[in-house]
């Protein structure tokens, strides 16, 4: 099908094209407690085509994209391509070049067995240290084998295969009076049984503490420690601020070589984009536009070294060697875990939903479970919320030397922000 589309595109009036053909076989299992609620299979192919058209004597470049369904006949494909070319003529952006074939070493061909990955997950979930009072409420297992081919009009033609998986888990804990729940979603390449068990065991312990949690005190402002995957949202803000699209659109005013927080008195952030992280679901040789991916430092001690992003915005910003980044590594900070966890602070292990707005930097989240450390006293707390802005927090944040990986982010295991607004309920 893709070869037929390439033929049609070459014979068309398009001045350029990109095709991404992804074939997915997915195994899914849905459980209520440990009984199977439903099993599902996804057996699909999605072919996405983007066409380019030079406009205004080549000063502008039009583009339009769409899915070419695998059920279409040759005539229908031609009609769809003509429609895309017509649409591209209405999308006038300044000219930019598409990616050209580059030198890179392709990863070894992997042989993904989706049935085996799924079975490993089903087996792993039966080995959790549940008790009569802390146990699994329900979970959903998603395992995928993906084969992707990317072709463009500049001569790039790459095919690679990769696994992708996800487990959603709801944990309950109960005492004589009530029952509570905590929620986790884990993404990875394949089933990492030991890490999955370790993390869910931690959540089971949190469940026990949630039962005895007191209302969060009215702290006004406090230091907050983030020890879970919620910290990924904090580092995602740094990632977005270094996105070429954000820079070009002026949503981010960060500049290469200029310290983003010159008055910062805490740890400074060093952010790297890396091609591979162990068992990441996003280990790719090339990005979705065909640019080769390699390790590069994006932010070093709060100073941008380069920006990453799609070909178009990089061309406008004259950033030649970069790409759309998928895996990120944040260098550990100056503090030990013990130093991070010192003095008075609130350590939050569960939010209803922790968000960091990429444009404003505002953070917000309702506290489902935290631990308030007031000298020697530790109190599990629940309720209320935190808020504030990353633009301020960046001036004093601390990171642990120890690291922890959450799918495509390898970040300091503990992150501490100072002077966070805490809306308590007591």
């Amino acid at each position: 099908m893709t070869d037929k589309i390439i033929e049609i595109l070459k014979a068309s009036s398009a001045d350029g094209f990109e095709i991404t053909d992804t074939v997915t076989l997915g195994y899914e299992f849905y459980f209520i407690k440990h009984k199977l609620d439903q099993n599902r299979v996804r057996d699909v192919e999605h072919i996405n085509v983007k066409v380019y058209k030079k406009l205004d004597d080549g000063k502008m470049l039009g583009s339009a994209s769409g899915e070419i369904y695998p059920t279409l006949s040759e005539e229908e494909i031609k009609d769809e391509i003509d429609k895309l070319i017509g649409r591209a003529e209405n999308v006038k952006n300044p000219f930019y070049e598409l990616n050209k074939p580059g030198d890179f070493e392709a990863s070894k061909e992997s042989n993904v067995d989706v049935s085996k990955i799924a079975e490993n997950f089903v087996a792993a979930m039966k080995e959790l240290p549940e008790t009569d009072t802390e146990y699994i409420n329900s979970y959903e297992i998603f395992a995928e084998k993906n084969k992707r081919r990317f072709v463009n009009s500049e001569g790039i033609d790459i095919t690679f295969e990769y696994p992708s998986s996800m487990v959603e888990v709801v944990v309950n804990a109960k005492d004589d009076d009530h029952e509570i729940e905590l929620y986790r979603m884990y993404k990875a390449g394949t089933c990492d049984k030991e890490n999955l068990k370790k993390d869910i065991s931690e959540v089971l312990k949190y469940g026990k503490d949630k039962l005895i949690a007191k209302p969060t005190p009215k702290l006004s402002k406090a230091a907050v420690v983030f020890p879970t995957s919620d910290a990924v949202q904090i580092y995602s803000w740094f990632v977005e601020k270094c996105n070429a699209g954000f820079i070009y659109s002026k949503y981010s005013d960060w500049e290469i070589g200029k310290d983003v927080a010159p008055k910062a008195k805490g740890d400074k952030v060093t952010l790297k984009s890396v091609r591979n992280l162990p068992n990441s679901s996003r280990n790719f040789d090339v990005d979705e536009e065909g640019a080769a991916i390699y390790d590069m430092t994006v932010l070093e001690n709060n100073v941008p070294q380069t920006f990453f992003g799609g070909r178009r915005f990089r061309y406008y910003l004259d950033i030649k060697n970069s790409y759309l980044a998928y895996n990120f590594d944040v260098t550990g900070g100056s503090k030990t875990a013990e130093e991070i966890r010192s003095g008075k602070y609130l350590e939050i292990v569960e939010f209803s939903d922790f968000e960091v707005d990429s444009i404003s930097g505002d953070i917000a989240g309702e506290i489902r479970l935290g631990y308030y450390h007031d000298g020697d006293k530790v109190t599990p707390v629940s309720g209320g919320s935190i808020s504030g802005c990353m633009e301020n927090f960046i001036n004093e944040m601390y990171m642990s030397k120890e690291k922890r990986q959450y799918d495509n982010f390898n970040i300091p295991a503990l992150t501490r922000l100072e002077n966070v607004i805490v809306t308590g309920v007591e």
């Binding site: 439903q38 059920t71 429609k83 029952e179 939903d353 444009i359 489902r368």
Partner: protein, 476 residues
């Protein structure tokens, strides 16, 4: 005009019926949902323009649901084989591989009864103004660009104003041995995202239009431009709210967010099956003040989630969830209904043909009351008028609620002081929040922009809304 049903699905239907026949020798229940939904997404901003034929609801594909020995299994595909017997054999082989995994791991089945298959025939082509396929995207791009340009020209602090529109012609075909249900309708949404910067601080807000109609509704974006720009200006000069409990007046958009997060997700009855929702224990009990009544259903209002039947072939409904403060019932998909011994309400929805059905909201609306907005504001001693919605999160197990609201306008002694706080995180215990509702306005609106997830995935179109409410809430 009527939104014409997909000719692709018309042609596919006979072979899908044969597939049902072929699978019926191995399975006790077989259904197929086939979708062919075409549309577009278009955006114009100061630095970028884009058109794509894809949006959240465009799709073409099928999902087969089969039942045997107490277990429901599904197979999603988008390359139907012309050889129906080969297709049936492939489906059975791959589902059998999954059954082998269950055997090897000693997995028990959550035993469920067989779905009823009473005969139903539906053919609905709903009215619309313009089909997405017929929209002149060149002209629309110029119009959206003019809105973006106007927004940026209005104030110096504006750095960009992406203006977006999406429209989808939804066509769905649901078949069993006894059911043949076909529906075709169009929905459209558009938004102005105003982004401003002042003194090194960025912020933004969104204004939108939506409806179960065509691109004609997008003309309404023009009047949203100035509203969005002025709101961003207020937010750039805003201060953080002093954390505490306040009297609040919610705009209909924020009212909708409360409806959605409090008693939308809280009464999705597949959560009752898993014992994940406190709502199950509160049927026929008080959960709000006498002034609180709420409806949920595809037939409750006409907005983006107003369809004729859901993704399991259940006809659309209109459920009274809360009647004068008393929780009456929730909403339910077909399998959850079987497990709970109740009737489905037409709320079984999939993100698309590749996803499982869950109980999902459609249109969730607070009923109107008898107060005027002006009287409500005049009655506030010290509090905030909350407007603009960013996001929310449900917590059905504990009835906690998290709503992130764009801004609050201070009211002291019944008058606006001109002071604005932003952003505002509203949290609380749902029965406390709804129990504090003391005034409800006569008018109401629905809003259908964006998408709704279940947990952190499974995105579907919903709308929500209601009148202005006066209540007491914790703000931070």
């Amino acid at each position: 005009m009527k939104a014409k049903f997909s000719s692709y699905l018309e042609k596919l239907a006979p072979s899908l019926k044969k597939l049902i026949d072929a699978l019926s020798s191995d399975y006790d229940y077989v259904s197929v949902l086939a979708s062919d939904s075409k549309g577009f997404s278009i955006q114009a901003s100061q630095k970028s323009k884009a058109i794509t034929g894809e949006n959240m609801t465009t799709e073409r594909g099928c999902v087969v649901r089969v039942y045997k020995d107490g277990l429901y299994s599904e197979y999603s595909f988008n390359k139907p084989d012309v050889d129906v017997q080969a297709m049936a054999a492939k489906l059975k082989t791959i589902l059998d591989d999954q059954i082998e995994i269950l055997k090897r791991t000693g997995t028990e089945i959550f035993d469920t009864a067989k779905l009823e298959d009473e005969p139903i025939e539906v053919f609905t082509e709903m009215e619309t103004d313009v089909m997405p396929e017929d929209v002149d995207l060149g002209a629309l791009m110029k119009k959206l660009q003019s809105y973006s340009d106007k927004a940026v020209s209005l104030k110096e602090f504006m750095i960009d104003a992406p203006v977006s529109a999406k429209s989808t012609h939804v066509c769905k075909l649901f078949l069993t041995k006894n059911r043949d249900m076909r529906q075709s309708y169009v929905y459209t949404e558009g938004s102005v995202l105003a982004i401003g910067m002042k003194n090194g601080r960025n912020t933004m807000t969104v204004e939108g239009v939506s409806g179960r109609t065509g691109a004609g509704i997008l003309d309404g974006l023009e009047e949203k431009v100035e509203i969005a720009v002025n709101a961003v200006g207020d937010m750039l000069s805003a201060s953080p709210v002093v954390p505490g409990e306040y009297e609040i007046i919610t705009s209909p958009e924020v009212t909708g967010l409360i409806a959605h997060e409090a008693f939308g997700h809280g009464v999705e009855m597949d959560m009752f099956v898993k014992k994940r929702a406190l709502g199950a224990e509160y049927i026929d009990k008080r959960v709000g003040s006498d002034l609180v009544s709420m409806h949920e259903g595809a037939n409750c209002v006409v907005d983006v989630a107003s369809y004729a039947f859901d993704d399991e072939g259940t006809l659309a409904g209109d459920v009274t969830e809360i009647d004068h403060g008393i929780l009456k019932t929730g909403v339910c998909d077909a399998l959850a209904a079987l497990r709970l011994g109740t009737k489905p309400t037409g709320n079984g929805k999939r993100e698309n043909f590749e996803h499982k059905v869950y109980t999902r909201m459609t249109n969730t609306m607070f009923d109107s009351g008898s107060d005027s907005k002006d009287d409500m504001i005049a009655s506030v001693k010290k509090g905030y008028y909350l407007e603009g919605m960013f996001s929310g999160m449900e917590d059905p197990k504990h009835w906690g609620i998290q709503c992130i609201v764009a801004r609050g306008r201070e009211i002291i002694d019944g008058k606006f002081t001109g002071k604005v706080v932003a952003p505002v995180v509203m949290t609380g215990y749902v029965p406390d929040l709804l129990g504090s509702v003391s005034m409800v306005s006569t008018d109401r609106e629905s809003f259908g922009n964006g998408g709704c997830g279940k947990g952190h995935k499974e995105w579907v179109k919903v709308s929500d809304g209601g009148p202005y409410l006066k209540a007491v809430a914790r703000l931070g």
